[in-house]
Amino acid sequence: MAENQPVDDAGQANFDAVIAKDSRIEPKDWMPADYRHALVRQMSQHAHSEIIGMQPEANWITRAPSLKRKAILMAKVQDEAGHGLYLYSATETLGTTRDEMTEALLAGKARYSSIFNYPTVSWADMGAIGWMVDGAAITNQVPLCRASYGPYARAMVRICKEESFHQRQGFEILLELSHGTPGQKAMAQDAVNRWYAPSLMMFGPPDADSPNTSKSMAWNIKRFGNDELRSRFVGMLAEQVKVLELELPDPDIRFNEDTKSWDYGPLDWAEFKEVLAGRGPCNAQRMERRRAAHDDGAWVREAAAAYAAKQSASNDREAA
């Protein structure tokens, strides 16, 4: 529908006025085709990330160290599914169907956050993911609660409320490990070492190499550049890691008095591009798992639809 959109001067004027006022665009408003495309891309990627993001953590549900931790982890993974669904339905308001998005993911045409292509090799990874990966996500997502597209912003408000539990439970896992036996502390430090750089790269490439950032900012979808958010996040980690009595694997972290922001060491953007291109440690495994889950669930979807059709037919007969 967006492809053949006619030129609409009044629509464009209304859109520009809404953006200039920092108000919200709603589903039935006229919007430029580029704006719609940018939103569908960003929101569906975000939804896919939540869905694929269930896998690295689901990996530890059966091996959580206590019933309490198992219950917490299950609640968290259930939240990720919920976040995916909020975002899919928000994206559907732009005229893209759920099936189109599912197809794009399964066919490998749609992207999801590169962070979920890293393996979760120890229990401490559940802590590092909560603290750093969800922490980065929150830093990124809080400004999105003011995104110019109403359904997206509303979904983000709900998601951000739930994410704060995720981050705190992760921090607590690391805190307990780092104050445990030397072996546990080493396990926590190892997880922090592995997740630090990938979580910083979650903010996306440096602004100079991020083709979508400036447009997204002009449309009030994004409110801050990738580098600013990343620097802000490093500042939070630098303080919080002291409470954990662990170390960040980056000797270059310091507050820069001139720029009033946090400096950090160089990141391996070649690795980022490799993972994004599908050549990360777990890309194949994640996609295979998602396709299998989709295929294995096909009979459930079909049976429920058949049952609903039968019920509605018999209701029609009774009414007749």
Partner: protein
């Protein structure tokens, strides 16, 4: 059922507490109303957000045209007399 979609779309309204209205929470796909209610419970009330849920097929909702803002909604221009604050002569009179 929508084009090619296995399950139709439903809009979900949640009443957060007795005495309050149901408020739109979001939407979801489900094969029928019973499943839509169950899915809505799992999706939108994981943290005690509701005491009652309504689900409505999305295509059953009629919406006003956003382009006809000016002509569809009556202009409030010059109609301040519809608000209590328009009447200032009674300022200082108690219980009014």
């Amino acid at each position: 059922m929508g084009t090619g979609e296995v399950w139709p779309l439903w809009e979900v309204f949640v009443r957060s507490n007795r005495g309050l209205s149901h408020v739109h929470a979001g939407s979801l796909h489900a094969p029928d109303s019973a499943m839509a209610l169950r899915n809505a419970r799992d999706l939108y009330t994981r943290r005690n957000e509701g005491v009652s849920i309504w689900v409505v097929p999305s295509d059953a909702i009629a919406a006003s045209d956003p382009d006809s803002k000016g002509s569809f909604f009556e202009s409030p221009q010059g109609k301040d007399y519809r608000h209590a604050t328009y009447y200032v002569k009674s300022e200082g009179v108690k219980h009014l």
